[in-house]
């Protein structure tokens, strides 16, 4: 072992370089001859040089030299390359060597012109400023310490759940800020006379007077339990507040120079928050999407990822480390098992295939039947609840009233509790590979959860637009039952959100903690020990918060303060879940990978957003807006604000807008987009073919190289073995 090389960073390569090339006797190195040769190849050395940026270090002088054969040619390029001093950290050297490199760079700076020097100096200070700013904002990150400690104790899969929750808190806060800026702030400024403006109300000309009747019962004395019922269901005193759509009964806010068009602002805020959510989710999922695209192109699972990036270096806890080892064991065995199963599937005979497919068809029909049954139950529950809600409070017992009000929520929650169990049982018989089983079950549960909200909303929609058996002619909607239907839809969404929150708290308080107490103190009972402490089930929890977010998205149009309530709800949920995790859960050996998880969460959220947009667009464009309340009393439907606003633009702008939205523009635009897409698909295919060819060539070259090395080794041996 040569003395100078023991501490080198480029140890493998420089050790070989330090020994004399001719002194290749078999005793002097411990590697096989072929590896020795490979280390001398110019390709290996140039890669090593690029990595450490030490180019043949002169041991005696201790300074860094450039390779003498290409000194002059590299000088000019070398100076400008070396002078990017911010990247000095990126060099794989230890600190004293980096110091020397920096000193050399600074002496080289003198050879530059004034302009270049100033440019370098200013770019360095700018980068330093950016770094300080980034450090500052990193401190502002919400819940940074909590999430770090969760990561250290439970792994990155669960940590990604909490990061996702944090993302939703921020998203809801921003949505609320948008709504506040556009809708609430002008109203508040006018109401408290901060600005010199007034409300403007323009009555609709030929409107049936019956449509404008909005009876809100205001009881003289407020009993305590009717107060509770109002708080929990949004009726009574809450109905007229700015919590719901019906409060915004003004047409415009008149400032000094212009009239602020409130209906337009209301609609724009809805479109804005939907668009913002979509863009933000897509931006966050682009990373995971690219990775999944690359991965699925080559292999189903990446063993490289599992082996080289399998160990979480930030684990400090010994029990967590044991858990990680066991989860890696489990994962590797499961992957190999999966390979075997897939091979078995590929070797199925045709009879077996037909049998399996017909069985799967039958089981999928059962799944559809279960879904249909649940949807029908929700339909019935909603209908029943809506019909009986109008009864007098005094005539009912407190609990019965609450039950009727919350009946749809209860049925939805029960359905969401039972169906995953049924799906998990069914999928055993469908004979898929284990990874696919998990994914399909999760997909079915996602669909179930999110579709239930849609069914509820559509039931409400059908009730609103039907007066008995014929469509409503007078006002376009059922004004006797729903004089202000948007507020009532808002109330349903509010009830769903409150109930969801209550369930989260109740489950943690009445299921998780007692279970933990039982397991800790009833150590004797075998049944309880078998049941064990619970594990933190990531898919269920994620579905729960995506469900809450979907309600918020649908409800924010009908109830502008709902995003604020959702923000508070998610903040409290974070702390509740964190407490539950730290005190009642044990870590599970089946661990979710963080990279998979992030993409999965955002995908589910995107599905929720798409499912939320559908009822909103239908209610905005098809169902006539209520004439008794709300900002859109002067319009047929909510969407009509836009055409009316466009008609106030100058005529050239109007013709432009009409041109862009007409068919004459849309069809050629669509064709061009299709052509561009086909071009990129063809380009990707061509690149793939080139990559395959290059890989084949690479392996052929490597075979040639090994053959030559073998010949060379043999020749050397022959030369050495010949007597002198």
């Amino acid at each position: 072992m040569s003395e100078g090389s023991a501490g080198d960073p480029g140890r493998g390569s420089s050790r070989q370089r330090a020994t004399h090339p001719e002194n290749m006797s078999l005793g002097s190195s411990c590697f096989s001859p072929s590896v020795n040769f490979l280390q001398e190849l110019p390709s290996y050395r140039s890669v090593a040089r690029r990595r450490t940026n030490i180019v043949s270090r002169d041991k005696q002088s201790g300074t860094l030299l450039k390779p003498t054969d290409s000194y002059s040619s590299q000088l000019d390029g070398g100076i400008t390359e070396n002078l990017d001093s911010q990247s000095i950290r990126k060099y794989a050297l230890n600190i004293s060597e980096k110091r020397r490199l920096r000193d050399i760079q600074e002496t080289q700076m003198k050879y530059l012109s004034e302009w270049d020097q100033w440019k370098r100096y200013s770019s360095k200070s700018w980068k330093r400023f950016l770094e300080k700013a980034r450090e500052m904002t990193a401190h502002l990150e919400l819940w940074r310490k909590d999430i770090r400690s969760i990561e250290g104790k439970f792994g990155t899969g669960i940590q990604s759940y909490f990061s996702f929750l944090r993302f939703l808190v921020v998203l809801n806060l921003v949505i609320f800020l948008i709504i506040f800026m556009l809708v609430l702030l002008p109203i508040l400024l006018t109401k408290y006379k901060i600005t010199n403006s007034t409300f403007v109300f323009v009555p609709f000309k030929d409107m049936d007077i019956e449509c404008t009747v909005y009876p809100i019962s205001s009881p003289g004395l407020i009993y305590f339990y009717s107060f509770i019922i109002d708080l929990l269901s949004g009726t009574g005193f809450l109905e007229k507040t700015s919590l719901f759509y019906g409060h915004y009964t003004i047409d415009g806010v008149k400032f000094q120079n212009f009239t602020y068009d409130l209906p337009l602002a209301y609609l724009i805020s809805t479109i804005a928050y939907l668009a913002l959510s979509l863009l933000w989710i897509v931006k966050r999922s682009v990373e995971g999407f690219k990775i999944n695209l690359i991965r699925s192109e080559e292999h189903f699972q990446s063993y490289c990822n599992k082996i080289f990036a399998g160990w979480d270096f930030c684990i400090t806890n010994r029990s967590m480390a044991e858990l990680k080892h066991s989860s890696l064991r489990y994962e590797l065995r499961a992957d190999l098992e999966e390979e075997r199963i897939r091979q078995k599937i590929a070797e199925r005979t045709s009879e077996e295939t037909i049998r399996i497919y017909s069985l799967r068809l039958f089981l999928n029909c059962i799944v559809l039947a279960v879904l249909a049954a649940c949807f029908y139950a929700i339909y019935l529950a909603t209908t029943f609840s809506q019909e009986h809600m109008k009864k007098e409070i005094n005539k009912m017992v407190f609990g019965e009233n609450l039950l009727i009000l919350y009946l749809p929520s209860i049925v939805i929650t029960l359905a969401n509790f039972i169906t995953p169990i049924i799906f998990a049982k069914i999928i055993h018989y469908e004979d898929y590979s284990p990874g696919f089983e998990i994914r399909l079950t999760i997909l079915r549960c996602v669909f179930m959860r999110l579709a239930t909200i849609c069914v509820l909303v559509f039931t409400l929609g059908s009730k609103i637009t039907s007066c008995g058996d014929n469509p409503c002619e007078l006002c376009g909607y059922n004004q006797k039952l729903y004089p202000c239907w948007e507020t009532q839809v808002g109330q349903e969404m509010y009830k769903l959100m409150i109930f969801d929150f209550i369930i989260i708290l109740a489950v943690t308080l009445f299921v998780d903690f007692p279970r933990k107490l039982l397991v800790t103190y009833c150590a004797s009972s075998k049944l309880i020990q078998c049941w064990g402490q619970q594990e933190f089930a990531i898919p269920d929890n994620v579905l729960g918060i995506v469900y809450g977010q979907t309600i918020c998205w649908i409800g924010a149009f009908f109830s502008p303060l709902l995003p604020a309530i959702a923000t508070l709800k998610f903040i409290i949920t974070f702390y509740v879940k964190e407490l539950s995790l730290l005190h009642t859960c044990r870590p599970s050996p089946k661990q979710f990978r963080a990279s998979n998880s992030n993409f999965f969460f955002l995908l589910v959220l995107l599905i929720g957003l798409c499912l939320a947009i559908i009822p909103l667009t239908i209610s905005m464009s098809r169902i006539p807006s209520s004439k008794a309340c709300g900002p859109f009393t002067n319009f047929n439907t909510t969407w009509e604000v836009i055409p009316q606003t466009v008609s106030t633009f100058p005529s050239s702008l109007q013709t432009l807008i009409h041109g862009v939205t007409s068919e004459a523009f849309a069809v050629p635009f669509f064709m061009i987009i299709c052509l561009v897409m086909f071009y990129f698909i063809a380009l990707a295919g061509a690149h793939k073919r080139v990559v395959v060819q290059l890989r084949e060539q690479l392996s052929l070259e490597s075979r040639d190289k090994r053959y030559l090395i073998q010949k060379l080794t043999e020749a050397q041996r022959d030369v050495r073995s010949q007597p002198a």
Binding site: A6, G7, P9, R11, G12, S13, Q16, F31, V35, Q39, Y44, V47, R51, T52, I88, R89, K90, A92, N94, I95, S96, K98, R99, R102, E135, R148, G152, T156, G288, I291, I294, R295, S302, Y303, C304, N305, I307, F308, A309, G310, W311, F313, C314, I315, T316, R318, M320, A321, H325, L328, R329, L332, L336, A594, S595, R695, L698, S699, S702, R703
Partner: protein
């Protein structure tokens, strides 16, 4: 004061210099300085004191790491750690470090026999360390090794050169997140 180092405060110029030369933040450098002072052996200035590999291996951040001996070998000089060596190690493992630096050191850590390539023998050692179990079947080892090589060995020589490793890690989604240590005793 017993066995502790003389409590020299770090000079501001040194702190600035370390900030410029590593990826660590100010707080992290001070934290590591504090931990180093607690561990270093005798009445020496922190710039001259050294820690043994055992002392660094038993830091809480590295105590349960299956690759701690490799980490210590890669980052130490002449078998001991100076303060700057510890800083260099923390810089590579910090959150702000760039991917190329992490990939470089990951390659060195995983190259058990230090021949400049990750070959089958290295891969088997890695898998054994990861599983930490006494009854790992030969089949499992061979299967996993075979899969890893088939995914990333582009020139079919049964070894991973640095470029192949770099290529594989650039596509790996978990690498940057898992190759991080952020608890240095604060």
């Amino acid at each position: 004061m017993g066995q502790q180092c003389l409590r020299y405060q770090m000079q501001w110029e040194d702190l600035d210099e370390y900030q410029a030369l590593t990826f660590l933040t100010r707080n992290e450098i001070l934290c590591i300085h504090k931990t180093f002072l607690k561990l270093c052996p005798s009445q020496k200035h922190y710039k001259e004191a050294t820690l043994t590999m055992d002392q660094v291996s038993s830091l809480p951040a590295l105590r349960v790491n299956p690759f701690r001996d490799r980490i210590c070998r890669v980052f130490s000089h002449n078998g001991v750690f100076s303060f700057e060596d510890v800083l260099g190690m923390a810089s590579v493992f910090s959150e702000q470090a760039c991917p190329s630096l992490k990939i470089e050191y990951a390659f060195r850590i995983y190259d058990f026999n230090e021949n400049g390539f990750i070959d089958e023998e290295d891969l088997q050692k890695i898998v054994l360390r990861l599983l930490k179990s006494d009854d790992v079947s030969e089949d499992l080892l061979m299967d996993v090794t075979h899969h890893v090589l088939s995914e990333s060995d582009l020139d079919n020589d049964n070894m991973l050169s640095f470029s192949e490793f770099e290529h594989a890690m650039a596509k790996s989604p978990d690498f940057m997140n898992s190759f991080r240590i952020h608890f240095w005793g604060c």
